[in-house]
């Protein structure tokens, strides 16, 4: 039970990071982006690549951070991966979604996002191989925090939670203290009024993609660090991300955070009663339940 709670919060904080970008885009651009989860994979693999690059460049960087299996080079690589994933998201928008916004309705964009997700996922498979891999092949032992109830915790997992927390606090500060944050909040609340207040809508949409992509990269990295890297990790996560966004209420950044935690916890706790094989179906049940009970989610507004 305690272990499930811990795992749930861990997965939940990763989902929260991923769902923030999803909910932003879904709210501002009014379409369900099925390819968002692929940005998580992309970010994780970008980190892998640049880890190797930095590791080759400098010996100092190969050293591990204290207690963790994460090396300095990997830590730097994550930063690069964030930037690259954000840029990729913006480029995909430029090439596909922006054109379709002019041509057709939101459902066409949903469909295009299906296509984009296929392309991204399989390009990753093509480039990096289909087999799953790890950032670090060393075996990391978990520490037993408590025997009864059993609680096994890895240092990396604590790191992931702290990282997620730090990022969310940072995001909160950006949103509430900086004009960039105000711009995002403003556009997601009322695009017309935002324009009236001198905000460039196109630039803000790009910003939202970059932010969503960057957060997705971190989420992907955290997920891969805790589990493994695999080209299909996006496919495995997409429904959970949607569940987090819907539970929180589309458009609410704080809702996405809470939604992520709820979905993570629910998925983890549900496994106490349901066989593990049914895990992929749990987010679906959460979505259905939310839509029945509270179609606008916890913090969402009806639209």
């Amino acid at each position: 039970m305690l272990q499930s709670l811990f795992d749930g919060i861990l997965v939940g904080s990763v989902l929260a990071l991923g769902a923030i970008g999803l909910t932003l885009i879904m709210h501002i651009l009014r379409f369900a982006n099925f390819s968002h989860a692929e940005l998580l994979s992309l970010g994780a693999y970008f980190a892998l690549t640049f880890d190797a690059v930095f590791g080759a460049v400098s010996n100092v960087l190969v050293q591990k951070l204290p207690w963790l299996s994460v090396t300095w080079s990997l830590a730097c690589a994550v930063l690069i991966a964030m930037a690259l994933t954000g840029a990729t998201a913006a480029i995909i928008d430029l090439l596909v979604f922006r054109r379709l916004r002019r041509l057709a309705g939101p459902l066409t964009m949903v469909f295009a996002s299906f296509g984009v997700s296929l392309i991204v996922r399989n390009v990753i498979g093509l480039v990096y191989g289909l087999r799953s891999t790890h950032y670090n092949n060393d075996i990391v032992f978990a520490m037993m925090i408590s025997a009864d109830p059993l609680l096994l915790v890895k240092a990396d997992q604590i790191f992931i939670m702290c990282l997620a927390l730090v990022i969310m606090v940072a995001l909160h500060l950006v949103l509430t203290r900086t004009s960039i944050g105000y711009t995002l909040l403003a556009v997601s609340e009322n695009p017309t009024l935002a324009q009236v207040n001198g905000i460039n809508l196109g630039a803000t949409v790009r910003l939202a993609w970059m932010l969503g992509g960057g957060l997705a990269a971190i989420a992907g990295f955290c997920y891969a660090l805790n589990n493994q890297l695999s080209p299909v990790m996006g496919r495995d996560l997409v429904l959970s991300l949607f569940a987090a966004a819907i539970v929180g209420g589309i458009g609410s950044i704080y809702g996405a955070v809470l939604g992520g935690l709820i979905v993570g916890l629910a998925s983890s706790l549900a496994l106490i009663i349901i066989p593990a094989g049914y895990k992929p179906a749990i987010p679906f049940l959460i979505i259905l339940a939310t839509l029945y009970v509270r179609p606008n989610g916890l913090f969402g507004q009806s639209r």
């Binding site: 459902l107 819907i246 094989g277 679906f284």
Partner: protein, 320 residues
């Protein structure tokens, strides 16, 4: 020559079975504007339903009632319909992108049931041992394959005619109205939620029929056959062919399936051995590109929907 004929038989059998599913999706998306992101779930319900009802008994497991083929097939179709009803009741009243997400989720849920509920679906190893109808009576396998293709063609033509009749009728007009402007339709006394649900269930049952035929053809169904890629393929077929046009849907199926099979063959024949492992990835990328490029370059497909007035009145009146 014989090899070529039997290969073509195989190709067309699968293509035309898929065409039936594409027609079902066309009813949902092309005519009613319902985004079904989980086509494969209803396909799977038809396939599993058929084999569970018509297959041989399995020890300590549910299913295997050994029912007559047609009853089993109808049962599979019905199962798809029931699944669609359950999903539809929950989602057809919701915003459209929620429907897309929920149906996408259904497909994943069904796949995980197929993989895990061994007493029901045989788990990962699937359901086998199904005896194809009249196979023993026909005897010769090649002849049987050919006859089966004929049956598939009959089914496809039947579904096509039935759907044409349906979409040309006042019912079809109603579907288009709901697709075009739900609020206006409601203000004119129509009940959009009910209409959407009806179209969703009928479309799903057609997908179920497709799944049933597919399972008959292979006499086997396993989770491998209902991978999410099938949903993407079926969507690509509809978009390429032209949604809202049944002939376009069939044309799109042949084009995309031809491209899929052709690319698979070309990759096996020409790609270096080291790349063979990635043939699947390349094909998936192709499907993704087809979807995206069609939407960007020719969003109405090869055979776009035509603007026609429903002609259902007695001919004497039209001459006026």
């Amino acid at each position: 020559m014989i090899g070529l004929i039997s290969y073509l038989t195989f190709f067309f059998t699968i293509a035309l079975i898929l065409a039936i599913a594409v027609l079902g999706l066309n009813l949902q998306w092309g005519f009613t504007g319902l985004f079904n992101g989980g086509v494969v779930a209803f396909f799977a319900a038809g396939a599993y339903g058929l084999i569970m009802l018509g297959g041989p008994a399995r020890a300590n497991e549910f299913g295997g009632f050994d029912l007559p083929y047609l009853i089993a097939l109808a049962g599979g179709v019905l199962l798809s319909g029931v699944l669609a009803l359950v999903v539809g009741l929950a989602t057809t009243r919701l915003r459209h992108d929620y429907l897309a997400i929920a149906t996408f989720g259904v497909a994943i849920a069904i796949e995980s049931v197929a993989r895990n509920a061994e007493y029901l679906t045989g788990g990962a190893k699937g359901l086998r041992g199904f005896e194809r109808p009249l196979e023993a009576w026909v005897g010769q396998p090649q002849l049987y394959s050919f006859l089966f293709l004929c049956v598939v063609i009959v089914c496809l033509v039947g579904v096509y005619i039935a759907l044409e009749k349906l979409v040309d009728s006042p019912f079809g007009r109603l579907l288009r109205a709901v697709r075009e402007n739900e609020r206006a339709a409601q203000s004119l006394g129509k009940s959009p939620a009910h209409i959407r649900l009806t179209a969703f269930v009928i479309g799903a049952m057609i997908m179920g029929l497709s799944g049933g035929l597919y399972a008959t053809f292979y006499a086997f169904i396993s989770p491998q056959d209902i991978a999410p890629i099938l949903t993407f393929q079926i969507w690509a077929m509809l978009i390429v062919g032209g949604s809202g046009n049944n002939r376009g849907a069939i044309l799109g199926t042949l084009v995309v399936w031809g491209g899929w099979v052709g690319s698979g063959w070309a990759l096996t024949a020409f790609a270096p051995a080291s790349m063979q492992l990635y043939a699947g990835s390349i094909q998936y990328i192709l499907i993704g590109c087809i979807i995206v490029f069609t939407l960007l370059a020719r969003p109405r497909g090869l055979l776009p929907e035509r603007l026609t007035t429903t002609q259902y009145a007695e001919s004497s009146v039209e001459k006026r």
